[in-house]
């Protein structure tokens, strides 16, 4: 009796394996063409240096050591670090505060409120940066107009000393709503029993938020942190567009991505650009892994 069953099992396995590969293959082919092969090719290119005499010469890790000694690369990274330690916390705390406020169910017209906070997500970053660029404008921008209305001189928000803050504001404006929606959705699926008792006992909403709700949405919070970290390293659209109206403040190395872009398309040094893009990818993957493992360890300990 066992033998025919075993035979039947193996035909089932074979048809299922075939079906699985038929379903996976289309994705895998495009994935190879537009993901794996480009990465491999970039890795290959990053191993060469083009010289005035002799053309492309294999140079091993020279491009990488050059990047690691390049002050402009570090300038970009240090701005990313500023975003990580200043902009990301502001954005996520604002998103969390709004999500918690809406989740209490005590905000009037909360459905409309949720939608309006989320609305900037529908605006492409190109348009968002364009708009804010006009609002910042020192001679006619709305912010200057508002300052003058109360008799103060308008600040030059596109000045070199303000440009980082101005960029942070644009990114916050774009993504607070998006993060709020993710956190809000996670809050909605916390079983009410978890805090009904606390509410009956008279615990206030802050207490409930701090000791019950926030720990319960830890997974969603981690997700928003990781997305924000990756987003900060990718910073490109906002500085690239602000460059058009404030070239001296933004410069060519505002973010590592902008720097790689300028190397590839203005300096025409594709080998070095490939190395920087690659290095950047590695840094992001490492940081994502570190964040995740720190979080996991902390969870295991608690």
């Amino acid at each position: 009796m066992t033998r025919p069953t075993a035979a039947r099992r193996s035909t089932i396995d074979r048809t299922q394996t075939r079906a699985a590969w038929i379903l996976i293959l289309p994705f895998l082919i495009v994935f190879l063409l537009a993901f794996i092969v480009p990465l491999g090719y970039a890795a290959y290119l990053s191993g060469f240096t083009s010289q005035l005499v002799g053309g492309e010469v294999f140079s091993g890790l020279t491009n990488y050591t050059r990047a690691l000694q390049d002050p402009q690369f570090y300038a970009g990274l240090s701005r990313v670090a500023l975003f990580l330690f200043v902009q990301v916390p502001i954005m996520l705390i604002a998103a969390l505060a709004l999500a918690l406020a809406l989740d209490t169910g005590r905000v009037r017209a909360s459905k409309a409120a949720r939608l309006l906070i989320f609305l900037p997500y529908a605006i492409p970053s190109v348009v968002a940066t364009l708009m804010w660029g006009y609002l910042y404008g020192n001679d006619f921008g709305l912010i200057t107009q508002l300052f003058e209305l109360i008799g103060l001189p308008g600040p030059d928000l596109l000045d070199k000393s303000n440009i980082v803050g101005s960029t942070m504001n644009i990114v916050c404006w774009e993504f607070i709503g998006y993060n709020m929606i993710i956190l809000y959705a996670a809050l909605r699926v916390i079983p009410t029993e978890l805090y009904e008792a606390a509410e009956i006992d008279g615990a206030n909403q802050f207490r409930i938020a701090w000791s019950i709700k926030i720990p319960a949405i830890r997974q969603a919070l981690i997700l928003t942190v990781i997305f924000s970290i990756i987003g900060s390293f990718q910073l490109f659209n906002e500085p690239n567009l602000l460059y058009n109206i404030a070239p001296n403040s933004v410069g060519t190395d505002f973010s590592p991505n902008l720097y790689a872009y300028n190397i590839a398309f203005k300096n025409q040094d594709v080998n070095y650009a490939a190395a920087i893009a690659f290095l950047l990818g590695i840094v992001i993957v490492i940081i994502s892994i570190v964040v995740q493992s720190v979080v996991n360890r902390r969870e295991r300990n608690s």
Binding site: T17, F35, L142, Q145, Q219
Partner: protein, 299 residues
């Protein structure tokens, strides 16, 4: 039948009746913060009704001396031989093809990873998980370098092909399929003599619809908003999506000189380009919110 109509997360949402009392303090705080999110959008809508000189001489949050919205719109669509409508069509084409294609590929792949056991499965899964962490823009320059070596740059494929790959979509669909496609249902269909692909097309796709919508919307927004990839891939203005086109106009407007493009045209063009997504957000908000939440709740 065990077919559940919509996402599980909706059925899990507890009904809350206890918090019917509203708090004025919270209401005021939340609505004051909404001013921040709305002011730029209101400003843009008002700016689109002004001519170029009113734009610089009148107060930003109120109308100018004349109402020029329709003049501005006709300028947007007639500048450079009406290339703006071409840009809009390109954006729609890139966004729809990428979104539908990415959702289809991710669904098939995620379903297979969740529902079958086969050799190489773990390897495929881990490669895709690793890919989730590689940011799109770090990939853009490598992809450009490869595509330019095979003369694929400055074609529609240069934008569409990378848009078809959504490792996060595969991950999401795998989680979704594992949760919502019942093994016993598949087994029953097998006993009825249905082939594996038929099971996927009839049972799988129906049960996965909410997840598919999620991936579709994610990719739609991502491609609609994409700027970096088309910027480096495309040289011909006739292939630009609207984001790259607007940025080009803005550059030409702010570099002044010949003043070929007016600021009022750039701003009105911006307003026109965001209307489709904003309207779809307002009308399809249930999909948007349940779609995005799937990532947070299950991820």
């Amino acid at each position: 039948m065990t077919i559940k109509p919509l996402s599980r997360s909706r059925t899990r949402i507890p009904k809350r009746t206890h918090s019917s009392k509203s708090s004025s303090l919270l209401t005021v705080l939340v609505w004051v913060s909404i001013v921040y999110f709305l002011v730029p959008i209101i400003w843009l809508a008002i700016a689109s009704t002004k001519d170029n000189s009113d734009l610089f001489s009148t107060f930003g949050l109120w109308f100018g001396n004349g109402f020029h919205l329709f003049t501005n719109i006709s300028q947007v669509f007639s500048l450079n031989d009406g290339i703006f409508s071409r840009w809009l069509l390109n954006t729609v084409l890139y966004a729809v093809v990428s979104a539908v294609g990415a959702a289809a590929l991710a669904t098939a792949c995620g379903y297979a990873l969740a529902k079958y056991r086969f050799r190489g499965q773990t390897a495929v899964f881990w490669v895709i998980i690793g890919a989730v962490m590689v940011p799109m823009t770090a990939l853009a320059i490598p992809t450009y370098l490869l595509f330019s070596s095979v003369s694929l740059t400055d074609t529609v494929w240069a934008v569409i092909l990378p848009g078809l790959v959504s490792p996060f979509g595969v991950y999401l669909m795998r989680v979704y399929a594992a949760e919502s496609v019942d093994n016993s249902l598949m087994e029953a269909a097998r006993i009825d003599g249905a082939g594996e692909l038929r099971i996927f097309m009839t049972i799988g796709l129906r049960l996965l619809t909410p997840g598919i919508v999620t991936v579709l919307l994610f990719q739609l927004v991502a491609t609609w908003n994409n700027y970096f990839l088309p910027l480096i891939m495309l040289n011909s203005p006739s292939l630009y999506p609207v984001t790259v086109g607007l940025a080009q106009w803005q550059l030409s407007a702010s570099s002044g000189g010949g003043a070929q493009v007016l600021f009022s045209t750039v701003l009105t063009g911006s307003l026109v380009s965001v209307l489709p997504l904003v309207v779809s957000f307002l009308f399809l908000q249930r999909f948007w919110q349940s779609g995005l939440s799937a990532g947070g709740v299950k991820g």
